[in-house]
Amino acid sequence: MKLTMKVNGREVTGEVEGRTLLVDFLRSDLRLTGTHVGCDTSQCGACTVHVNGELVKSCTMFAAEADGAEVATIEGAAAEDGTLSAIQQAFQDHHGLQCGYCTPGMVMTAASLLKENPKPTEHEVRQYLEGNICRCTGYHNIVKAIMAASGQEMPAMAAE
């Protein structure tokens, strides 16, 4: 079937099978390979994107379901001139990533969190990240980066 959607502000069209997942459409058809696949049970969150402003694991949605939707992926997070968003910059400043594989999903999730809750507590950040698995960082610097991006003071334990 044919579909049309707006991805990172740009209108795209494609032809997919009914069973094609949104993540496969993004990665294979649009070559937007920043969105990753880390599992097949919608647990890891590496494929997290925004669809019509909502946080979505793009492995749990058929591409066809996003027909006509506005989709935002990690490739659209920075400014046109390459300037990182405040969240992206905080991840670099606070070493919130290592291998980088879960990172796009983390950044998209963090953006959604701060939109809903601009000054989250540490507990709220950790709860919100429940659907995103990172195997490298132990989450310490991810939580720290998100809190920093929200403009809050660090808890004493996060100082290191």
Partner: protein, 793 residues
């Protein structure tokens, strides 16, 4: 004042930009024109006689190009094992053939039996469902002790039994160790399980094979920690491809943790099939496949005994371990429970006698190999649990008991074949006491108790052997290859530098930290230096990244190559400055003549090397590029002290980590920010092992924890902020940077303190629970408390 560049600076990671903007290049992001996709049909039973594979219907399905079975690989070599262990009786280990695709027999759930190559991934998957396997199921061998019992079903018919080896270390110490136990004032005995884990890097494995018929060139793009190792193993032992006709590329790799060291069948398959079909062949693992095909970790069942004299000095340690090898020997598997485990059994303590016995066992399970720490977490866990138990039995403070027995004089030759070059275990324990706020613990415990909760504090020390490895030594121990590393420092004409390194970065941040070293040595900005890694066609050689070796071994090679470059540049500078070479000094990117104001900039010297208009051509070859190989003289020995503080709900058995503190001695530190990050990640994996993760098989050999729905990965809300410190530094004495390695410490050092803390919490509630096996799930903890309450009643 913290530095802002060079050695010791927390330079921000340059690789972050591509990862944060979605422009990293991972193996699955590689798509080659005309590529085909392979789907592996994997065994769904653990053990069976495979009579036939009927592919007729599947082969006729849309898009199918070819279906391969085990018969297609009869002329192909076995997936090789890189280590050979010699047993207690001087005999080599039993080493079975490891086929690319199962042939004649299925030996574990997940073993690839057939491979469907098709035009699309979906077509390959659809066709695989139409393949019919004809097999007769055999009893599955799952439990290790049952596997080596008389009359057990054999995993490999051609072997004499399921025992891979029975290893004694040091065998000559056995009689004396037994005598020390007979004479001991106190003996503590603990039986424990080091639970089977799955490494679970977030990027599943991927392989893309490519073949260029015109020049007979094979290329494999793969998710590897060590592309040269794959080239060597696959080229020389499996497919018979000479190294100059085989390029292995490991681009951005999404985490490894050990499981991407090994050479896997899927890599050999894609390389083989690309040539057979003359088209690129791509395989992308699903997470479900990863659970049943990535080598697993740990899985030891051990009994450890600690002998003490009347003054609580440790006099001897004796252990017996059953180590699961799984169905086949993975690349490093035999070395993990032996040379990476037995050699660390002395720990941080001056115990004069140690005897380690390890029985490695074949079972109908996924192969088991190195996972972050590899053998050293298993040693540390046994030792640090038995010491805690001994302290409890003797009624002494567990920290004081450790301090009393610490090694304090260096170098120290242990009774298990290694020599610690340097360390200060009291210093890290002192630092831990401070950062973990031991002094405030009793008040925190009272506060918890006031809320009906129990609070426990667990402490342990650890030591590891890193910087793997001195080639001569490991060769004597059974390694079939040297474990040195290499680097090339290529200075460009205008002074910028590309460094080609054998280490592979898949999260460790080498692209940032390695240039810090070169910047410090030459005095030019870090951004003038780039690191090239992960491609056998671009780098001279390298054994890759594992065993916390990158900086200690490959970094040392890089320093040696840079020293050669500097020495040559000084000779060129001497010519340009018309001075004697011995008078030339290099500082802040400028060569000067000692005691004069004559100087020449780094860039002018490098330009002269490439544009030799004014150049001593008869004395010095033009150009400025040097390669060095570095073979370490010894292992490095990072060590430290860890503390975990838990709050336990006595009603439910739920354990919450309230505080976790780590004081490490990594020797000199290049980038403190990156080092802290490595420790954080290791701690999370250690806490995961202690509380959450468990790779479980049922009695039929079915893997029952094969997804993130069943295998509990640590998540953000399971973990606290950690307090980590690496200010205690006793530099390594035998490598040029004085570095020890930091990648595995967190995973090695953390499980015992978590378990020690939970036992402490339970005991504080008046329940006599001496031990609970990991993972300490609420159910296990509750059951142990319930049994203790029932016993007491």
């Amino acid at each position: 004042m913290p530095k802002d560049s060079g050695i010791g600076a927390s330079s921000k990671r340059r690789e972050d930009i591509r990862f944060l903007t979605g422009t990293g290049k991972y193996t699955d992001d590689i798509n080659i024109h005309g590529q085909l996709y392979v789907h592996f049909l994997r065994a769904d039973v653990a053990h069976a006689k495979l009579n036939g594979v009927d592919t007729a219907e599947a082969a006729a399905m849309p898009g199918v190009v070819r279906i391969f079975t085990g018969a297609d690989f009869e002329a192909v070599g076995s997936i090789p094992c890189g280590w050979q262990i010699t047993d207690r009786h001087g005999q080599p280990m039993q080493e079975p053939r490891h086929p690319v695709l199962a042939h004649g027999k299925i030996r574990h759930v997940g073993e690839p039996v057939a491979a469907v190559v098709a035009e699309t991934r979906a077509q390959a998957r659809d066709a695989a469902e139409a393949i019919v396997l004809d097999y007769d199921e055999l009893p599955a061998v799952v439990d290790m002790k049952a596997a080596v019992a008389e009359g057990a079903t054999k995993v490999h018919d051609e072997l004499t039994s399921n025992l891979c080896y029975d290893w004694g270390f040091v065998e000559e110490n056995k009689a004396a160790t037994d005598a020390a136990f007979a004479a001991a004032a106190h003996v503590t005995t603990l039986e424990l399980v080091n639970n089977r884990l799955v490494a679970n890097p977030m990027e599943p494995r991927v392989a893309v094979g490519e073949y260029d018929r015109a020049d007979d060139m094979h290329t494999l793009h793969t998710t590897s920690q060590n592309p040269h190792v794959i080239r060597l193993l696959m080229g020389a032992f499996v497919l018979g491809i000479p190294e100059h006709k085989l390029r292995v590329v490991a681009p951005d790799v999404g985490g490894g943790f050990g499981t991407k060291i090994f050479h896997y069948q899927e890599e050999a398959f894609c390389t083989f099939a690309a040539k057979a079909l003359n088209r690129p062949v791509k395989w992308t693992s699903t997470r479900s496949e990863a659970f049943m095909s990535d080598a697993h970790g740990r899985d030891h069942v051990s009994k450890i005994q600690l002998a003490l004299d009347a003054d609580n000095n440790f006099t001897a340690i004796r252990t017996e371990t059953y180590a699961n090898m799984g169905a086949y020997l993975s690349t490093f598997a035999p070395s993990v429970p032996t040379w990476l485990h037995g050699t660390l059994m002395a720990g941080n303590y001056k115990t004069p006698l140690v005897y380690v016995n390890v029985k490695a066992v074949f079972t109908n399970t996924v192969p088991v190999d190195a996972y972050r720490g590899a053998g050293r977490p298993e040693a540390t866990y046994q030792l640090e649990r038995v010491i805690d138990m001994a302290a409890r039995e003797l009624g002494v403070d567990p920290v004081a008991l450790r301090r009393q027995n610490y090694i304090t004089q260096f170098p120290y030759a242990t009774p298990v074949a290694v020599e610690y070059d340097t360390g200060d275990y009291n210093a890290t324990m002192d630092k831990l006491t401070e950062i973990a706020d031991f002094a405030g613990f009793e008040a925190r415990r009272k506060e918890s108790e006031a809320r009906g909760k129990l609070r426990g504090l667990g402490v342990n020390s650890y030591i590891e052997a890193c910087g793997i490895a001195p080639s001569n030594l490991v060769g004597q121990l059974g390694a079939r290859a040297g474990l040195y590393d290499a680097a090339t420092v290529r200075v460009n004409a205008t002074g910028s530098i590309s460094v080609m390194v054998g280490a592979h970065s898949h999260g460790q941040g080498h692209e940032t930290s390695f240039p810090q070293v070169i910047s410090e040595m030459i005095g030019i900005p870090e951004d003038q230096i780039d690191i090239v890694h992960g491609d056998t066609s671009k780098i001279p050689f390298g054994m890759g990244t594992y065993g916390s070796r990158s900086l200690a071994v490959c970094g040392s090679a890089m320093v040696r190559a840079a020293e050669k470059v500097i020495n040559k540049a000084k000779r060129i500078a001497a010519h340009l400055l018309e001075a004697s070479e011995g008078d030339i000094e290099l500082k802040d990117g400028t060569f000067s003549v000692a005691g004069t104001d004559k100087s020449v900039a780094w860039g002018d010297v490098t330009l002269a090397a490439y544009v030799p208009h004014n150049y001593p051509l008869t004395d010095i070859e033009p150009g400025l590029e040097e390669t060095a190989f570095y073979d370490p003289a010894n292992f490095t020995y990072p060590a430290g002290a860890y503390a975990c503080e838990v709050e336990l709900d006595p009603e439910t058995g739920h354990v919450k980590i309230e505080r976790f503190s780590a004081a490490d001695d990594f020797g000199n530190v290049i980038n403190p920010m990156i080092v802290s990050g490595q420790v954080h990640g290791g701690i999370a994996q250690g806490i995961g092992q202690a509380l959450l993760e468990n790779c479980a098989y049922d009695a039929d050999g079915q893997l029952i924890s094969a997804s993130y729905m069943d295998y509990a990965m640590p998540r953000a809300d399971d973990l606290p902020f950690y307090s980590v410190d690496h200010s205690c530094q006793t530099p390594c004495t035998h490598n040029p940077l004085g570095v020890k390695g930091c990648g595995e410490a967190g995973a090695i050092g953390s499980p015992p303190s978590v378990v020690n803390a939970v036992i402490d919490a339970i005991q504080s509630g008046g329940m006599n629970v001496a031990h609970i096996d990991m993972p300490l799930t609420p159910h296990r903890v509750w059951a142990a408390m319930h049994a203790a309450r029932t016993d007491a009643a």
